[in-house]
């Protein structure tokens, strides 16, 4: 069954709608291309713009499982690919001691897939159907791991000395995300399609807020979206993410606030900005930001 033949622009669009992931046509086109061409997709962008979400959404679009590999400094092959379950093997050896088995029989027992701990990459290779493999924050891993990953991504095949070579029956749809903490290797970038996912514009963010927090006033949706958009234009240590915008909206809703004012914003701004220096920097700009947001409303 060739899964990719079933992917059409409509299915991608409908899938995004169903998953309530609002985005631009640019993103839809690139997602569609990545699925159709069966190439990995590298998504770069600021933290909190929704890169990891795309992986989850893609799994929903394809009606399949999401396998997630979270990268960190020091991640190596063993943690990412596979490891032998030493304890279980030892127990087996102990149990077999009673029967006087030949060495070949012993190895046959303990080096079987039953004793293999499959980590995300191997799981993605051995699944019986196409899955989505999300490799999150690849920029946190080091260059050696990147080289190893490149090898896996090109062939989708793994050699386990005791078991032989395992090839993937269905190539997974691969999504890699990066926060641009460091430059990725050229070879990896060549292999992937590229998408830069920036924070959404005012219109999309307003839509997102109105869908996720519908209880609020429509005017407040707009004000919130514009205010956060204004915040992002400032030079902050950490620009507010979409999740933080939604947290703020929910907080305002819970507090019964109908409109943004300097006092209400000052009280609740810590939902949006999580660094003390950012809060201080923004403190005297709150009123002008509210003014700019309100001006668009008329």
């Amino acid at each position: 069954m060739n899964r990719s033949a079933e992917v059409t622009p409509e299915t991608v669009h409908d899938g995004l709608e169903r998953a309530r992931y609002l985005t631009t046509p640019r993103v839809e086109t690139v997602l569609y291309l990545a699925l159709k061409l069966e190439k990995p997709l590298l998504i770069e962008g600021p933290a909190g713009a929704g890169k990891t979400e795309i992986g989850k959404v893609l799994a929903e679009i394809l009606h399949t499982e999401l396998i997630r590999l979270q990268c960190y400094e020091g991640l190596d092959e063993a943690k990412a690919l596979y490891e032998w379950n030493y304890q279980k093997q030892l127990l087996r050896i102990q149990a077999d001691r009673a029967q006087d088995l030949a060495w070949s029989e012993v190895t046959q027992h303990i080096f079987s897939t039953e004793y293999l701990l499959e980590r995300p990459l191997l799981r993605a290779i051995t699944t019986p159907r196409k899955v989505v493999l999300l490799i999150d924050e690849i920029d946190k891993s080091d260059e050696e791991f990147e080289a190893f990953l490149l090898e896996v991504l090109s062939d989708f095949q793994v050699s386990i000395p005791e078991l032989g070579t395992i090839s993937a029956r269905h190539r997974p749809a691969v999504v890699l995300t990066s926060n641009r903490a460091r430059e990725l290797s050229e070879a990896l970038k060549r292999r992937c399609l590229y998408l830069y996912l920036d924070f959404p514009g005012v219109d999309i963010e307003r839509e997102i807020v109105s869908r996720k927090v519908p209880e609020l006033d429509a005017r407040l949706h707009d004000q919130i979206a514009r205010f956060v958009n204004g915040l992002r234009k400032l030079d902050l240590r950490k620009a507010p993410s979409i999740a933080e915008t939604l947290d703020w909206a929910r907080a305002l809703c819970a507090l019964g606030i109908k409109e943004l004012s300097t006092t209400t914003v000052r009280q609740t701004l810590n939902f949006v900005l999580k660094h003390e220096e950012d809060l201080r920097k923004v403190d005297n700009k709150i009123s002008s930001l509210i003014g700019a947001a309100a001006r668009h409303n008329v």
Partner: protein, 397 residues
């Protein structure tokens, strides 16, 4: 269409984007899927060809010229809006479906103005005609490719400039370079940490462990080779000639603080003052008189008096200085005491070795009590010294 696309890719290459043959094939396949509807074509080509967001403006500019909407002013293609701003207007489904036949422009309102009319107008204009109209090589874009090569050459050159000869703008450029080096240094330390060899076999613990496997020792236990993470104390000469080198050393060490148990940084000219390094700036905890004359002996004595508890068997002591003592007493005896107290004492000298021991430099006196004396007169040497220091360290643990 294909030849047109290949010419477009060639122009992109001249503009400084590096595009491989594999990506070209991706682009061709992408076009066969997205069709020639302008917005999708653009995004499809961008996804396959533009792998760095910094290149996107150049790509958009060239795309607008190469796939210009006929009938409109050539070269002034629709100015692309920032993503999300106007593309967010519910184009939704209609945006994705490739148009099979040309449509009159006014029937499809889009946030960015009327779309082109489809395939017919493009065939009318022969590719040659279009090429003749557009300048094949725009002087501005041509330079970008050279720029990239230049940037690498510049970086290499910056690494080789001696600290003493750096001008202020060069120092600023080096700041950026140093953040990159600091990142690499961290990665190096991380690898070191993982690959540390273990010590001798610990029989007692091995037998203890074998209890869980029926008395068979299957997982050997080793003595811990390294006593956890070392402490780092850096003492940097901040006299005028050496201040730049100090600054860069601290910039390199600061991000790696998680690999050490305790990190304490000090600056001195004739008195040691503790400093912190945050967000690229040095913050002295106390007043540091930068105009005093260098007096290493006095600084060492003061340091030993005040901060002796910091120097223990687990400490690595880094001293950065040119050892130019203005003919004052060097007090190498204090250095000797420090040497016995710490695990490792390393001296980094920002002067080239040819100048050591000339004039009022007393480095030979100090050298006797150092475990290592390394030259660090350029960024490259400084980085290499740090790498060497922390590679050697693994073996001595």
């Amino acid at each position: 269409m294909k030849s047109h696309l290949l010419e477009f890719i060639d122009t992109l290459r001249n503009a400084g984007l590096s595009i491989t043959a594999a990506e070209t094939m991706d682009a061709v396949r992408a076009v066969s899927i997205t069709g020639i509807e302008r917005a999708q074509l653009r995004e499809g080509l961008a996804a396959a060809l533009v792998k760095d967001e910094a290149d996107r403006p150049a790509f958009i500019d060239l795309f607008d010229r190469y796939f210009a909407v006929p009938g409109r002013q050539r070269g002034k293609g629709e100015r692309p809006q920032p993503t999300g701003e106007s593309e967010g207007h519910g184009t939704g489904k209609s945006g994705l479906l490739p148009r099979a036949e040309p449509r009159p422009a006014e029937q499809r309102p889009e946030g960015r103005g009327p779309e082109e009319r489809g395939s017919e107008p493009r065939q009318r204009e022969s590719p040659h005609q279009r090429l003749a109209e557009q300048p094949r090589k725009d002087g501005k874009h041509e330079h970008k490719k050279e720029e990239r090569g230049d940037q690498l050459a510049r970086k290499r050159a910056l690494l080789q400039i001696a600290f003493r000869e750096m001008s202020a703008p060069e120092i600023e450029e080096c700041d950026l370079l140093v953040t990159e080096l600091a990142r690499r240094f961290r990665a190096h330390l991380c690898r070191r940490q993982r690959a540390t060899p273990h010590g001798r076999l610990d029989i007692r613990r091995t037998i203890r462990r074998s209890m869980s496997t029926g008395g068979i020792p299957l997982e050997p236990a080793f003595r811990e080779r390294q006593p956890g993470r070392p402490d780092l104390v850096a003492l940097c000469d901040h006299s005028h000639s050496v201040a730049t080198a100090s600054r860069f050393l601290l910039a390199l060490l600061a991000p790696a603080h998680s690999f050490f148990r305790r990190v304490r940084l000090f600056a001195f000219v004739d008195q040691p003052v503790e400093i912190s390094f945050e967000a690229g700036t040095l913050i002295p905890h106390d007043r540091l008189d930068l105009y005093a004359r260098s007096d290493f002996g006095k600084a060492l004595v003061a340091f030993w008096d005040q901060y002796q508890p910091l120097l223990n068997r687990n400490t690595i002591l880094l001293i950065l200085g040119d050892a130019r003592n203005n003919r004052r007493p060097p007090r190498a005896d204090v250095l000797a005491r420090m040497h016995t107290a710490v695990r490792q004492l390393v001296w980094l000298n920002p002067e080239p070795p040819a100048r050591w021991n000339t004039g009022d430099s007393v480095i030979a006196t100090y050298q006797r009590h150092c475990d290592a004396l390394l030259a660090a007169s350029t960024l490259r040497e400084l980085y290499a010294a740090l790498r060497q220091l922390f590679r050697a360290h693994r073996a001595t643990a």
